[in-house]
């Protein structure tokens, strides 16, 4: 049915209509059509409607009048909207005589017609205007006369068309007036007609509740409006009208006022396969008029009309959307009367209709320009249509047995329908007509082909529309079909790849469904339960324990049983697995430490930590081992394996549950957080685990060796304490993060009897060490003198006699001092053949150091060295502090010219703190030996005392002087411990006299070289009492300031300490120099001079001194230096012998008296 077009009729004197002139005018008029840009301003509508383009029929009035008019409301366009009369008359006389009459005749007929406008077109020739132009315009023109005669209203309904035969009738200016008048006329008539029709419609609608009102009649009436709009290209208005009709239909439907309709459906043979959107496939209007239309046909017609108007508007997306909604909703409606429909009618109808709508939409969409978003939604909605068709295949497939009656196929059943899956019994004898469906019903393979084809089509449409999730679902459907058809490997592939799409956003229900399918297929395909299977299973369990995970799995009892069997199978599979498997952060099991306080195991090494393992699965999970990893302060890692543990505070790092070869890991805290996504987790405070100290457990300590010898490789002593266990075997490994290397293979036992030590490349192994025994092993290491202290990681792996099967391991971090507590400074003083050596010992730390003895020893006894020590006998222990170093003097006598081995300085010392600690320990031990019950408080008592001493240093001086240890500031406590403490304090304050404090002493051996000197010179200035007899030994006469004093300078050289290789050298050239001290002395004579020095010879020269003032004056110093020996070496470089001079008179002072005597001065007073 094509829309009715606007009609314009024309009339003219018949004679004119027969002329060529008219034919040309007519053709020119047609060429101006269609009309463009009409603006309809309706009183009932708020907005101006613009008609872009309007087709117009131009027919002669006679032809139009012959047409039959029916009673059925047609469009308002059926009758002409405008009638035109064409006048060709240049002459006013003619006009007045004949033409006016003709027009009047015509005018009287047209003005009687309702809803029609009229127009008089006066055609003039351009030359006519030109001629009339030359004349006086005294008389009115023909047009003016027409206007005067017929324009009764305001409206100007007369128009002039200047027409030239040969002129260009495309010229728009010539036509503008006429076209404008035509448009006005049409719109005016249309407006009036519509207003009238609307009035009628309104009146009819108002009578809706009255008896006898007929919806069908009303529909036809109102539809005429829609058709009119459509004819005017006012598609929106047409659509609105149809939508209003639809709403009214539903309203009437609800009011159950449907008596004028025939049945719901009266299926005709081809109903199920005809294109849905064709409104001409049945004589719908006739059926409506006859009141025999079925609801089915009516709805189809209404939809088809709406869609065709939408099609004009290019709204293809909306068409498809409407079709989906209609097919689904009306299909549902038809289900109610399924028993009277042909078998599979609904499915066939929906299927064909959906696909035909897609086709129709594509047809409408060709040539449409759509933006990207619209194309996407067009594809999406087409996808929905195709999917709808697919669902019909699901229903058919299940009912004829091509498909199983289970999800996802059964999802296509309407939610409240029967689901037996069988073919419904029907009373209808008709058959469906869609050939594809009929074929698919017969042939299983044809069905699958159609099914897969349709599904793939939907997937493709969804994919281009960007509807990924729809496409995923379709893939799932295909995989389910594969399962049904036994194509298991394809299905498995799909079902193992699908979960990854559902997992990321926590759609665990769908994820677990997919994994469940995958597991099922795996079993059905009898595939080996390999790695892949285990991971699918773990993923499944993971999804299963989530909240939504089990919603899609059968019913409750079933799935517990199912999961139980899965876990059982998992256990078996892990035992047979070829390699270790690990899985991180599985949520089914969680490991936590509810109480961070570990306990010591009472009679075994190690600590016990309570770990809570929560299993979210509804069944038992067999686990072989639970492992907890803790991280300590120094980054030390501790694996909690039900064995040894280092005391301290740890944070829970990770945990692990092992099931044969499968290990499940959880990371509890991480530093630094591996990614920002886990930021929320890492913000949780770490779980702290504190492991108490087990004093009876195996322990390894490090310390400096008691005896240290500088110049030999550094060693460290490992004190290995077995604690409560007889250790059968223990391997100890030392390593230092600073890079210091330990030479394990050179490890030696210290004072051991029969403990076996096996020194290996990077460990040493102790075997068979009894309980409660400490073994000391000395391990040499590379130079660590650059460090003050050294951090050493100790790893011990050991087994005990009691539990030979348990391998325990212990990781410890110990810090050991590498620097000496003492600093040593050496000074040498040569005096002829003797040497005095002074050692200055000072403490390098704040600690006081107790020195028991210092001794300088020769390496060899036959060295000829005589060493004497200056040491007061009275005191046995000396204390040195940082402020108060100790000085120790030794005198050495040696034979000349021998190679001298270095001497060794032995220092026996201990740090005050060690001493006091051992004093306290021994005091505690002796006091506790009386009471067994207090034995357990030993550590506590020692701690209390040591801490009290640490707080206050006032006891130190007294202790060092007297050995009395006054423990300050201990509050009096009650009870056994308090008493014991009081007793101890008493004991410590009154030590048994004259007993050296117990405890170990340390020893340092420092090698000291014997110094060498080519020349040792002793210079002496001697004041002579008698300059002429230097040898006289008289007492000195009084010396006065200003008086010349004779003095003798003697320099005695000794080559005693000369290096052995230079022993042969007999003499050296030397120079002396008497110091000028101009404030005290004037020196006269040879102040500077050179001389030849020989061993044990004395060089003598005399000088004269004059004291410049009185007092005790010290004699000037004499410096003596050896002169270089020219070019003796191979390099001819001068060699300067070493030389040391001491002033033999250094301590002497001379008393100089003030000058005595009298002087008389005579002063003339004048007067003569």
């Amino acid at each position: 049915m094509t829309a009715q077009r606007v009609t314009i009729t024309y009339s003219a004197p018949p004679a004119f209509l027969a002329t060529d002139h008219w034919k040309q005018v007519y053709a020119a008029l047609l060429s101006q059509l269609p009309l463009r840009n009409l603006h309809w301003k309706s009183a009932t509508r708020p907005n101006i409607r613009t008609i872009q383009e309007l087709d117009v029929n131009l027919v002669s009035a006679e032809a139009k009048q012959t047409e039959h008019t029916s009673q059925i409301p047609q469009t308002v366009l059926e009758k002409p909207l405008l009638s035109a009369y064409i006048v060709v008359c240049d002459d006013t006389e003619t006009y007045r005589n004949t033409v006016k009459k003709q027009i009047k005749e015509w005018h009287s007929t047209v003005t009687q017609r309702k809803n029609m406008e009229w127009l008089i077109i006066h055609i003039v020739r351009p030359d006519a205007i030109a001629t009339s132009g030359r004349m006086f315009q005294m008389k009115a023109s023909v047009l003016d006369k027409i206007k005067a005669d017929f324009n009764v209203e305001k409206r100007d309904r007369c128009v002039e068309l200047v027409w030239a035969y040969d002129s260009d009738y495309e010229n728009p200016t010539a036509w503008a007036d006429l076209i404008g008048k035509l448009k006005d006329g049409i719109l005016c008539a249309f407006d009036a007609a519509v207003a009238q029709r609307e009035e009628e419609v309104k009146r009819s609608e108002g009578q809706r509740q009255m008896p006898g009102w007929n919806f069908c009649t009303f529909f036809i009436l109102k539809e005429s409006l829609a058709n009119s709009y459509e004819g005017m290209n006012l598609y929106e208005d047409a659509l609105d009208t149809y939508n209003e009709l639809e709403i009214l239909f539903f309203q009437v439907l609800r009011e159950k006022n449907l008596s004028w309709f025939g049945t719901l459906i009266n299926p005709a043979p081809k109903d199920d396969s005809l294109p849905l959107l064709s409104h001409s496939k049945k004589p719908y209007r006739d059926l409506i008029l006859a009141n025999t239309i079925s609801v089915f046909d009516f709805r189809t017609y209404l939809l088809a009309r709406q869609c065709s108007i939408l099609g004009y508007l290019g709204h293809v997306v909306e068409i498809a959307r409407k079709a989906v909604a209609f097919l689904s909703a009306f299909g549902r409606r038809l289900r109610d009367i399924e028993e009277i429909l042909p078998t599979h009618f609904i499915e066939s109808w929906t299927y064909s209709s959906a696909l035909s709508v897609v086709e129709q939409c594509d047809a409408w969409a060709t040539g449409l320009e759509m933006n990207k978003a619209t194309i996407a939604s067009f594809n999406a909605v087409k996808g929905e249509l195709v999917e709808l068709a697919r669902h019909q295949l699901d229903i058919i497939g299940i009912s004829v047995g091509h498909l199983p009656n289970r999800p996802p196929f059964s999802m296509a059943f309407p939610s409240n329908s029967r689901r037996d899956g069988g073919t419904p019994a029907t009373s209808s004898t008709q058959r469906i007509s869609k050939s594809e469906i009929l074929m698919a019903l017969e042939d299983k393979n044809a069905f699958y082909k159609v099914y897969i084809g349709i599904t793939n089509r939907a997937i493709e449409l969804y994919a281009t529309a960007g509807r990924r999730k729809f496409a995923l679902k379709m893939h799932g459907d295909l995989a389910a079909l594969d399962v049904h058809r036994g194509r298991l490997s394809e299905a498995l592939q799909t079902f193992t790849s699908l979960p990854a799409h559902y997992a990321p956003h926590g759609w665990t229900s769908l994820e677990s469904y997919m994994l469940f399918q995958a597991l099922g297929i795996h079993t059905a395909a009898e595939k080996p339960r390999d790695r892949e299977w285990i991971f699918i299973l773990l993923d499944f369990l993971k999804a299963y324990v989530q909240d939504l995970g089990k919603e899609l799995l059968m019913n409750t009892e079933d799935h517990i049983e199912y999961v139980t069997s899965l876990v059982q199978a998992l256990h078996e599979a892990t035992q047979e697995a070829e390699s270790d498997l690990s899985h991180h952060d599985h949520p089914a099991i969680s490991v936590s430490v509810p109480n961070g306080q570990a306990r010591t195991a009472d009679n075994r090494d190690g600590a016990l930590l309570e770990v809570q393992v929560t299993n979210a699965l509804p069944c038992d999970v067999p686990a072989d081992e639970v492992i907890i990893n803790l991280t300590g302060r120094d980054g030390a890692k501790l694996t909690f394996l039900e064995n040894s543990a280092t005391p301290g505070i740890y944070s829970l790092h990770s945990s692990q549950v092992r099931m044969s070869r499968l290990s499940l890991h959880w990371l509890h805290s991480s530093t630094p957080p591996p990614s920002s996504s886990s930021a929320s987790r890492s913000k949780k405070p770490p779980t702290l685990v504190s492991i108490p100290r087990d004093i009876r457990a195996l322990d390894v300590r490090l310390r400096q060796p008691r005896r240290m010898e500088l110049g030999t490789p550094a060693r460290i002593v490992v004190a290995f304490n077995t604690g409560r266990n007889h250790v059968t075997r223990a391997s100890v490994k030392l390593s230092a993060p600073s890079g210091v290397e330990f030479r394990h293979n050179e490890a030696t036992l210290i004072d051991s009897d029969n403990d076996a030590l096996e020194a290996g490349e990077d460990t040493f192994v102790l075997s068979d060490v009894e309980a409660d025994k400490t073994v000391y092993v000395s391990v040499p290491h590379s130079d660590a003198s650059a460090f003050h202290a050294m951090r050493v990681n100790i790893t011990v792996e050991y087994t005990t006699l009691v539990e030979p099967d348990v391998n325990r391991s212990l990781t410890l971090v110990r810090v050991v001092l590498t620097s000496l507590p003492l600093a040593i400074n050496v000074e040498d003083f040569f005096r002829g053949t003797r040497l005095f050596t002074r050692f200055t010992l000072s403490s390098t730390s704040h600690q006081h150091i107790r020195l028991k003895s210092t001794e300088l020893r020769a390496t060899r006894d036959d060295d000829g060295l005589k060493i004497a020590k200056a040491m007061p006998r009275s005191r046995t222990v000396t204390t040195i502090t940082p402020e108060q170093p100790g000085k120790f003097l030794f005198q050495l006598d040696s034979a000349r010219g021998q190679d001298r081995e270095p001497l060794k300085l032995h220092i026996i010392y201990r740090v005050l703190r060690e001493e006091v600690e051992s004093v306290i320990e021994s005091a505690v031990d002796s006091s506790l030996s009386e009471s067994v019950s207090l034995q357990q408080y030993r550590a506590e008592l020692i701690d209390t005392l040591v801490q009290a001493l640490e707080k206050d240093a006032s006891w130190v001086n007294r202790y060092e002087a007297t050995g009395e240890l006054i423990v300050p500031g201990i509050p009096v406590q009650d009870g056994e411990v308090g008493e014991a403490l009081a007793h101890l304090i008493e004991t410590l304050a009154n030590p048994s006299s004259n007993q050296e404090p117990s405890g170990e002493w340390r020893e340092i051996i420092i090698p000291v070289d014997v110094p060498q000197m080519h020349i040792v010179a002793a210079a002496r200035l001697r004041v002579l009492s008698n300059p002429f007899n230097p040898d006289a030994v008289e007492s000195l006469p009084p010396l006065f300031a200003g008086q010349p004093i004779s003095a003798l300078l003697t320099i005695k050289a000794s080559f005693h300490w000369a290096p052995a290789e230079d022993v042969e050298k007999r003499s050296y050239r030397m120079r002396y120099d008497i110091e000028e001290r101009t404030k005290d002395w004037l020196v006269s004579g040879q102040k500077t001079g050179e001389f030849i020095a020989e061993d044990d010879r004395t060089f003598t020269t005399s000088v004269t001194l004059i004291a410049l003032h009185h007092g005790h004056l010290i004699l000037p110093k004499v410096s003596v230096a050896a002169l270089p020996i020219p070019g003796e070496g191979r390099m001819k470089a001068p060699l300067i012998p070493s030389c040391e001079t001491y002033q033999a008179h250094g301590a002497e002072a001379i008393l100089v008296l003030p000058r005595g005597g009298r002087s008389t001065f005579v002063v003339n007073m004048g007067g003569e």
């Binding site: 639809e246 709403i247 539903f250 309203q251 439907l253 609800r254 989906v324 909604a325 689904s328 909703a329 009306f330 549902r332 409606r333 978003a373 996407a376 939604s377 999406a380 929905e384 999917e387 709808l388 669902h391 289970r406 999800p407 996802p408 059964s410 999802m411 296509a412 059943f413 309407p414 939610s415 409240n416 689901r419 960007g466 509807r467 990924r468 999730k469 729809f470 679902k473 559902y502 956003h505 926590g506 759609w507 229900s509 769908l510 469904y513 909240d547 939504l548 919603e551 899609l552 019913n555 929320s680 913000k683 949780k684």
Partner: protein, 173 residues
């Protein structure tokens, strides 16, 4: 008589597209999968709608009919971007948006009340105020109140009668 809207299923989805709660009402057990699928696939359509809404600068929470697949699927997005998806039994009559919006408002209120439960934030670090896992945990099986509220709305929908207010705002008067 007002049309009866039968509510078949409800899904709440977090702003990050994590499912919060999926409930079905008086549906056969084997259709659970269907409604989970619907909740999931609706997210595609909701994305399309959100894009369109952003383009037109619309701030309406109601996203309208998303699609029809044996049931009519409607969407709604709260101002805090929690998506609510409902599946209504298809009816061969005009469904007025106002009626659907009324259901959504009721569901939104149920959700709001449940999320306001301060104990939801128990054991959750306080600095993570915007962490959606809190929202998701509202549908957690441990938090029964939310399910109960949603179930009540589901039950009520079987006899759902829109209030006069909605009749006034509906299309036909």
């Amino acid at each position: 008589m007002a049309p009866q809207l039968r509510l078949n299923a409800v899904a709440f989805v977090s702003p990050q597209n994590h499912p919060i709660l999926i409930r079905t009402f008086e549906q056969p057990r084997q259709d659970e999968l269907k409604y989970h699928y619907i909740a999931h696939t609706s997210l595609d359509v909701i994305d399309e709608r959100i894009q369109a809404a952003t383009a037109s600068k619309s701030t309406d929470c109601y996203l309208g009919l998303l699609y029809v697949e044996d049931v009519a699927v409607y969407g709604y997005m709260t101002p805090l971007k929690v998506k609510i998806i409902i599946a209504l039994e298809l009816s061969d009559s005009i469904v007025r948006d106002a009626d659907v919006v009324a259901i959504f408002k009721a569901l939104h209120t149920a959700y709001r009340r449940s999320v306001a439960n301060p104990f939801l934030r128990l054991n959750v670090p306080t600095e993570n105020v915007t962490d959606h896992s809190i929202l998701v945990s509202a549908g957690n099986s441990r938090w029964q109140a939310f399910r109960k509220r949603v179930d009540e709305i589901g039950r009520a929908s079987y006899g759902f009668v829109p209030s006069p207010l909605f009749l006034v705002t509906s299309k036909i008067q």
